[in-house]
Subunit: 388 residues, 2 copies
């Protein structure tokens, strides 16, 4: 179990959104604290996202409330009223303004919340919250996740003590974050002002949760937020960002390997790129290719599909196939020809739990690493039968 | 069976590229004729594409040679020499310059041709070619296609006669054409100059074969070409383009429904768009969404995934979700709420062989229709075990 940082507590409940598992979380600070958040760029965002964008705009939050298994998206004005009522109900229990509450929700699209059940929960919600561990909170936000996703790190405080950073996340499908991601919440007792927190947070998310893709489908509900209670004292900003990066990277890898139906983590590193955008574009093209993903699933040493995926970046006219290098793990497969022995070795490597693909573009010096998973029959079964 | 237009004949053979099925096609005109071709924009094209681009540059071709089940891509300088030898061998048999031969090839990437077998075939290749039907030609270019794809149309000639247009195509995976497509060859006995032919051909392909996507993966070998023998006489250009469009649209639908593992054709019409590019972007986002594709596969009435896919077009900031309309067949699912009876009707509709999704954006007047297919467990199985 992972203790929440000082100054935070949580409440979870099963309110029966879809089944009898926990589906309601309030993660709260003792008082309103510096906070930052990033959101999906979807044009079909739900009221959770629009409301939360407004609430975090002043860089301060008291709590995050999550309803899981219903996204409250494409639900019209009723959906907006429901989200506002949810924020207000939590705020009333905490004794803070509704604007200090961030609302997040994922699950089926186009169905209104069962507000009778939500209201019953809000009526009994009261401080003190008894949960001081991250795992029950991470469990309460799961939809089709098979494991709860928690990560933590520590960072020294300037007075010789230690601050902690804890992150929780959910998400296994509809995952190609775009400036934000799935649901991920971070809490720390380090003392940081909202501006520094926001800048650090955006840099970290861009290289971690924004680097994961399960199926190229961008959620309407992606939300990542961080709250800093300040109880443990101030920290060196660079050390904090490094530790936060470690937590976010761990969550990123946990999300990729728990991708719907996934059996293998795929890590694609692209270097020697002209700029960050090119490195990211090529890495995403590879990690998102259904043909690369199925080859990894079948441990089929069909490395030519990586060449195909690089080739898809057709606007990158500076990519010259004669200068590109492709490796699986430590094994070069292109341009160095692969003989039968090499193909057998590659097939064996691809049977592992983690397949690392490394492409050097020879167009510059930028690099990016993307994370994803294989595409299995099980992904199809899960998603062909989701609502029914 | 479909007769080839006047002035064309074909030769097919099984040269043993992968198995004992036909894998070699020469489709030839009696003499060098006006021709046009479009190709993949991949940065990893094979020598077939680079050689053929050069050969069609003067708007004239005598023949197309296709080797199927091996793409001759990522094969280095050896691959370039092999492609040139193939073109020269066919040219020698026909008595034309190598520059009048277009070379096309699809199949596994990164393996050289078995040139000993190719050479044996070239040595015995000689006129006259005995095949005057399209079906054997379409069969010889198949890889994992389950059916041969042929379409034809006629167009009146200005002297009161009739010209014919015949098209053949292959392609079931690694299909999201980008300015060109898979392999598709059209022959006509209409009399057209190369410039008019090229302009008509590009407009038609852009709305038909360029509108199909099986799996977002762009082939390294996409090639579509047309040869016009002129034997039947001249035609009205608009009537010709309409007839050519019918042939190409039929091939497009045949390709979509034969997508690897596919059981359902998905047709996505987007209208009320700001411009063609926006209509195409949104239609492609929907037809390519793994979550939409799996929902169709499972006949799961999870229409919210179409809203999600529209939302993915995050740079289209003029799309306002309150003005968007989503329909399945004739049934509106958004913004008009769908009750349980409506969901049951939708599930029933989605069990059909063809699912039509219609989205109106209310940002303008442009429209585009994209074609694709569902995503099934079978797609995964086919592609997890392709080379092994």
């Amino acid at each position: 179990m992972t203790a929440l940082p000082q100054g935070f507590s949580a409440h979870v409940a099963a309110i029966g959104i879809k089944d009898d598992t926990d589906d309601f979380l309030v993660l709260a600070a003792e008082r309103t604290t510096p906070a930052a958040a990033v959101f999906t760029r979807s044009r079909f965002v739900g009221p959770s996202v629009t409301l939360s964008r407004a609430h975090v705009a002043n860089g301060r939050l008291r709590a995050v409330v999550v309803v899981s298994k219903n996204a409250n998206v494409a639900t019209g004005e009723q959906g907006q009223r429901d989200a506002a009522e949810l924020a207000a109900g939590v705020a009333a229990a905490l004794g803070c303004p509704p604007e200090d509450v961030l609302v997040a929700s994922t699950g089926v699209i186009g169905r209104p919340y069962p507000m009778d059940r939500v209201r019953k929960q809000l009526e009994i919600l009261a401080l003190p919250f008894t949960i001081d561990q991250a795992e029950p909170a991470a469990t309460a936000i799961m939809t089709t996740d098979t494991v709860a996703k928690v990560a933590s790190a520590t960072v020294p405080t300037t007075d010789g003590g230690e601050a902690s950073i804890v992150g929780i996340a959910k998400g296994v499908g509809m995952i190609e974050p775009d400036m934000a991601t799935l649901l991920a919440f971070f809490v720390t007792d380090a003392d940081l002002d909202a501006g520094a927190l926001d800048a650090s947070f955006r840099r970290v998310i861009d290289r971690t949760l924004n680097a994961v893709s399960i199926d190229t489908d961008t959620s309407t509900s992606d939300t990542a937020a961080i709250l800093a209670s300040g109880v443990a004292g101030s920290v060196d900003l660079a050390a904090f960002e490094q530790a936060l990066g470690d937590v976010a990277l761990s969550l990123t890898r946990q999300i990729a390997i728990d991708g719907e139906g996934a059996t293998t983590l795929i890590e694609v590193r692209v270097d020697g790129a002209r700029d960050d955008a090119q490195a990211r574009r090529v890495a995403k093209a590879i990690v998102n290719s259904p043909l690369v993903k199925t080859a990894v699933h079948g441990a089929d040493p069909n490395w030519g599909r990586v060449a195909m995926a690089v080739g898809k970046c057709s606007d990158d006219t500076d990519i010259d196939q004669r200068r590109v290098t492709i490796r699986f793990g430590a094994q070069e497969v292109y341009p160095q020809p692969v003989d039968e022995v090499g193909l057998a070795a590659l097939a064996e490597y691809m049977k592992g739990d983690e397949v690392r693909i490394h492409v050097s573009l020879a167009t510059g010096r930028a690099a990016f690493t993307a994370f994803g998973c294989d595409l299995s029959d099980q992904y199809v079964r899960i998603n062909a039968d989701y609502t029914t």
